[in-house]
Symmetry: C2
Subunit: 357 residues, 2 copies
C-alpha cells in the first residue's frame, strides 16, 4: 500500500553490518544505492560485495540512512541533510540525544532492533530485518511526507514499525536491551572469576546459562557510547533490578516459598506471552483519519498506537488538495480497533474504520 | 570400555521428563526397566509410552534412578536402598543436603544438567542427555563398584561425567543455574511491570532479551525447594551479582568508558571460550592408577580431575584379587595429562600414562 515518492535512489552513510544489509535489500528491490564510510576501504569492499552501486553521496536520494556509531550520528545527519534533498534517518541505539541535536523536519530518528553484534559488511544480509521491530521516533516538527517515506522503506525491508517519542524509546530499550546486556556481562564475569578457582564450573554451564550470556559475546565497542548517551534510563533500571534482586534475596533467606513461587509464576506467564508477529489481513482494520495538519498528526497518531501496544501493519498518507490537510490511512489489529478509535476520538480525531478483506 | 556388572535391569523412581528419558535410553540399549511414580496414572502412562517395561520396583536392579522432587529424594533413596541390592543414584538439582541425609556406600548423588523445564513424561526423549554434563558426587564412603556402575550407565546415555564434592556442586550451580534463573525472572518481571505502563515495551524485546529470559518460561514449582536447599550458596552469589551491578552502575554514572569496555571485553572473551565437548581418541591419554583402597580413591581421583577442569572421557576399575586393592583406568585430555599426573603424584598415587591410539 505504502509507496515512496520520488526516485528510488538511496545513500548509506556507513556500510557496516546494518548499512550493508539495508543496501542489499534495497538493491534487490531495484534501488540505486550510493554509500560512504569513514573507512574508505570498507566502502570499496561494499561495492565489491554488491552492497552499494557506487561510493559517494547521491544528492537525489529520496532517503539516506546514517548507520554510524552513536556519537558520530548527529554530525553525519547534518551533513547528509545538507548534501541531499530527501528524508534522512539513522539507526542509532539511543534516540533522545540524537533527535535533540538535529533540528530538521526531514530527519526521522530510527532504531532497527536487529543485528547488534556488529560483524561488519561481510555479515550483511538482505533479510536481516525480516520480522524485526524497527523503532521510528517522529516528533511534532517531523514532516509527514518524509516520515511516510522512511516508514514505507523500512517496512519494505520486512520490519515492523513501532513509533515512539525519542525519550520513551530510550527508557524502554534500557529495560529490554541495555541493562540486560550489562547483566549478561556481570553474570559471565562472575562465572569466569569463579572458574579460575574451580575449573569445573564452566563445564556445568548448560543451555540456560549459555542463553543468558549469549549477548555478552557481542562486540563491546558500541556500549560505552550507548551507556553514556542513555545514562539516566540505564541507572534507573539498574537500581530497579538491584532492588528486585534484593527482594528475591529476602524471599530466599526467609524461606518464603509462596512469594517466591508467585514471583516466578508471574515471570513465567509474562515470558510465555511475549508477543510474536501477526500480519494476517483478516485480523486487520483500516482506519481513515482526516487531519488538519499532517505533520503534527503523524507523530501523535502513530505513537498513540505504539503506546497502546497496537501494531500498525501499514501506513499511508492521502494528500488533500488544500495545504497541510490530508487523510492518514492505517491498518491495525482488528481486535484493538475499538479501543484505538476511542482514544483517537478523545484526542479530537474523527476516524472512520472498516474491516479489511 | 566401561561395563556394568550384574543384570541389565534398572528401576526408575519417578517417571517424569528426566526419569522417562532415562527409561527410553536404557530400553533402547536392551535394559529391562521397571518404574514407579507417586502419581500412579503417570506410571501407567510411562508403560503406554514404552518408557518402562512394567510398574514396580525391581529388587534385582543393578541401578535405580531416583528422579523425584528435591525434598522427596532422601526418603525415596532410602526406600530404594532397602528394596534393591544395586547402586542407587538421584537426579536432584541440589546435592549437599541429599548426600548428607543418605549414608550408604551404594548411593551416588547425581545431577544431569539437562531438561530442567520439567515437561512430564510426554516430553521424554532417549537423547535428552546426549552431550550434556552429568555431575556425580562420590564421597569417601562411596563404594567404587557402585560408582563405576553409575558412571558407566550415565556415560552410555551420552552424557559427560563431571565428578565433584556435593558442596562444591552446589556452590557452582548457584553461579551457573540458580542465580541466573532468579535473574531472568527479575528481568522479565521488570519488563512486564513497565509493559503495563508502556504497551510498546514488549514489542521491543528482540533476540537478546528473549535469550536472556527464556529459562524464566520453565516451570517454577521446583524452585522454592532448590532455593531452600541451596540457600547459602544462592545468597552469596546474589550478593556478588549485586556488588558487580553496583560497580557497573558506578562506571556508567562516572562515564568511565575504559573500565566499562575492559569489563565487557573480559565477559566477551569468557563467553566465547565457554567449553564445548571434545572426545577425539587422538586427544586422549590413558591413566592406570594402582590404588590400595578403591572406595577412597574413586572420589579423590575423579574430583581432582573435575576441579582441574580435566574431562574424564572414560573410566574403568580393574579389580585386584586381593581385597580392596585395584587399578583405576581413566581416559583424559592428553594436553592436560602431565599436569594431572603431577597432581596425582603429589597426592601419593603412582599412575602410569600412555597416549591412546
Amino acid at each position: 500500500m505504502s509507496t515512496v515518492a520520488g526516485p528510488h535512489r538511496a545513500t548509506l552513510v556507513g556500510t557496516g553490518l546494518i548499512g550493508g544489509s539495508i543496501g542489499l535489500a534495497l538493491r534487490a528491490q531495484g534501488w540505486h544505492v550510493s554509500g560512504v564510510d569513514s573507512d574508505e576501504e570498507a566502502a570499496r569492499r561494499a561495492v565489491e560485495l554488491g552492497v552499494i552501486d557506487e561510493v559517494g553521496v547521491d544528492p537525489d536520494s529520496s532517503i539516506t540512512f546514517v548507520a554510524a556509531p552513536v556519537m558520530a550520528i548527529p554530525e553525519a545527519v547534518r551533513v547528509a541533510l545538507a548534501q541531499t534533498s530527501g528524508a534522512v534517518t539513522d539507526v542509532g541505539s539511543v534516540k533522545g540525544s540524537i533527535v535533540a541535536e538535529v533540528d530538521s523536519p526531514r530527519f526521522v530518528g530510527g532504531h532497527p532492533m536487529a543485528g547488534s553484534e556488529q560483524l561488519g559488511v561481510d555479515g550483511a544480509t538482505p533479510d536481516l530485518f525480516e520480522g524485526a521491530v524497527w523503532v521510528l521516533t517522529p516528533v511534532v516538527g517531523t514532516d509527514s511526507d518524509h516520515f511516510a517515506t522512511v516508514d514505507a522503506v523500512v517496512r519494505s525491508l520486512g520490519a515492523d514499525v513501532v513509533a515512539l517519542p525519542p525519550d520513551r524509546h530510550d527508557a524502554l530499550v534500557a529495560v529490554v536491551s541495555h541493562v540486560p546486556h550489562l547483566t549478561a556481562a556481570a553474570l559471565m564475569g562472575i562465572a569466569n572469576e569463579r572458574a579460575s578457582e574451580h575449573a569445573a564450573l564452566l563445564r556445568l554451564a548448560a543451555g540456560g546459562f549459555r542463553d543468558m550470556t549469549r549477548i555478552a559475546a557481542g562486540s563491546p565497542t558500541i556500549w560505552p557510547d550507548i551507556c553514556g548517551q542513555n545514562r539516566g534510563a540505564i541507572l534507573e533500571v539498574i537500581d530497579r533490578l538491584t532492588a528486585e534482586l534484593a527482594r528475591l534475596r529476602g524471599l530466599v533467606d526467609d524461606g518464603d516459598d509462596q512469594a517466591l513461587l508467585a514471583t516466578l509464576e508471574r515471570a513465567q506467564l509474562a515470558r510465555r506471552n511475549l508477543p510474536s508477529r501477526v500480519v494476517r489481513p483478516e485480523e486487520l482494520a483500516e482506519f481513515r483519519i482526516p487531519v488538519p495538519d499532517r505533520d503534527g498528526a503523524i507523530a501523535e497518531v502513530s505513537t498513540l498506537a505504539s503506546e497502546m501496544g497496537i501494531n500498525i501493519a501499514d501506513f499511508e498518507i492521502a494528500h488533500s488538495s488544500e495545504g497541510d490537510r490530508g487523510v492518514l490511512i492505517l491498518l491495525v489489529d482488528r481486535a484493538r480497533a475499538d479501543a484505538y478509535r476511542e482514544s483517537l476520538v478523545d484526542m479530537g480525531y474523527r476516524p472512520s474504520v472498516r474491516p479489511l478483506s
